[in-house]
Subunit: 322 residues, 2 copies
Amino acid sequence: MHAPLLTRSDIEATQRRINQHVHRTPVLRSGTIDGMIGAAVLFKCENLQKVGAFKIRGALNAAACMSPEERRRGLATHSSGNHGQAVALAARLAAVPAFIVMPRSAPRIKRAAVDGYGATVIECGTAIQDRESTMRAVLAEVGAAFIHPYDDERVIAGQATVAMELFEDDEGLDALLAPIGGGGLMSGSCLATRAFSPRTVLYGCEPAGANDAARSLAAGTLLQNAEVSTIADGLRTNLSARTFAILQRHLSDIITVSDAEIIAAMRLIFERLKVVVEPSAAVPFAALMQQRRRFAGKRVGIILSGGNIDLEQPYFTRPPSG
Amino acid sequence: MHAPLLTRSDIEATQRRINQHVHRTPVLRSGTIDGMIGAAVLFKCENLQKVGAFKIRGALNAAACMSPEERRRGLATHSSGNHGQAVALAARLAAVPAFIVMPRSAPRIKRAAVDGYGATVIECGTAIQDRESTMRAVLAEVGAAFIHPYDDERVIAGQATVAMELFEDDEGLDALLAPIGGGGLMSGSCLATRAFSPRTVLYGCEPAGANDAARSLAAGTLLQNAEVSTIADGLRTNLSARTFAILQRHLSDIITVSDAEIIAAMRLIFERLKVVVEPSAAVPFAALMQQRRRFAGKRVGIILSGGNIDLEQPYFTRPPSG
């Protein structure tokens, strides 16, 4: 199977297409972190992006690639997370309705965010089948255009603009680390690296409790997560055949990390970089901390994918003693 | 009394002097916050600055203005907070020793940060007199150069570069809000506004539990805080005659806020802007939230002064119920 290749000009055209509606997110650094890791670490802050995550790039690009007729009856997706917010905002910017299928169990705060962008939320049960059958029913009824969270070339092209911007800001990266959930961001990062900085070595980063990508790459065939157990709620999904093919061709390695490593990395990012990251976004930095020897003296790019956390969750507070 | 005026070229020269050692911090925005406030709100993120606060600018400028002979035996200050870290880093960059007098009661985390920059920490009692007598003893013994946290023109000039950069990035600000502790940042902001954007209206922002500036401006004479009670630990100090004179001449008004308003503002900054701020840094945004009518439809600059918090402090976690 051949991975669909995006050229430099494809990605540049994508960037121009979404440009006016996304933030050019800053690249942050910390002298203390560089010293701890023994490497130059550059953090591309997509947690500071609109909707608090890179997802807006892919959703916007998918919407912008549609004809007005195609998107006229609205945009739709199923997601309990950042992609739902992204599609809701993309629809608002295109002045069309949004229909977001969310499990009844979704956190109130995520539901409120989607509501806040003016989307119609359709509740469903928590099983994957419920989600899919509800989605099909909604699409049939309202005729909206479906935007998959990652198994879509337009979405992958949108996510590729993250790494492209990073390479524009810094030409000397030896390595790039990004998180893997369904593989949309990682695939986009692979294709952008191939196009703009082919000498940069690519590492995928995954929670140990949702390691379908690591196992799939080791086996040479697409495997699913049997059970999923990780604090990184954005990375619980499985690769698709499309994203697997891209990762198989371009990744040098996958590094898996424990939940304890994720929380330690989150904490350092809060304390030293002073930005809010969700657990999924701390996974690449957790991988770098774990494997610091491998990256000694290198110039390393890290994608901080999102910052949507529940502040009432006591990630760092000591359990009450006594 | 005449305030010492910094000209455009004084502030530009200061910026060139410290440039290579400070971050050009980003200006962040949130569509949701703009919508809530009914204004365009631009956040200048000095919480993302080196040492996690604007303080490095003033300390670096003071050190850079000294002759090599003057600073040869080291830099010294008394501070349990961000200025201590700033002087420690400024000394390290100048390759001279640092002597930081800190009360024995200072949080371990702040002490560790100062240690981390290679400074010598000298402990003292918690009373102001202890601090001052210990400082005098240290200066007499080691012959280091003292850098006051705010009552120093070189320090004020350094802090002025924050607002200067903001005006460079955005020429259309109707108002600028900054926090007032000892008045160093606010004085620098006043002088930079006068020099670079004279039509911008200046507001000082202060916690109700340490409102010496509000009372001093109302009385037309310099008053001290009798007792201090606020979560904003960076703003508990009193103005000096020097900073009072500058504020009196340039401020349009002072807005005071409660600790509850400060925490609500901190929370919104975490949730929507995705950056970590300390309570003191949330004070201007708390003021803007309180007085949103006054700023309706305006273009408002907010200085986020620092991000050094103790993550184990449960600012946002619900008290355990039951």
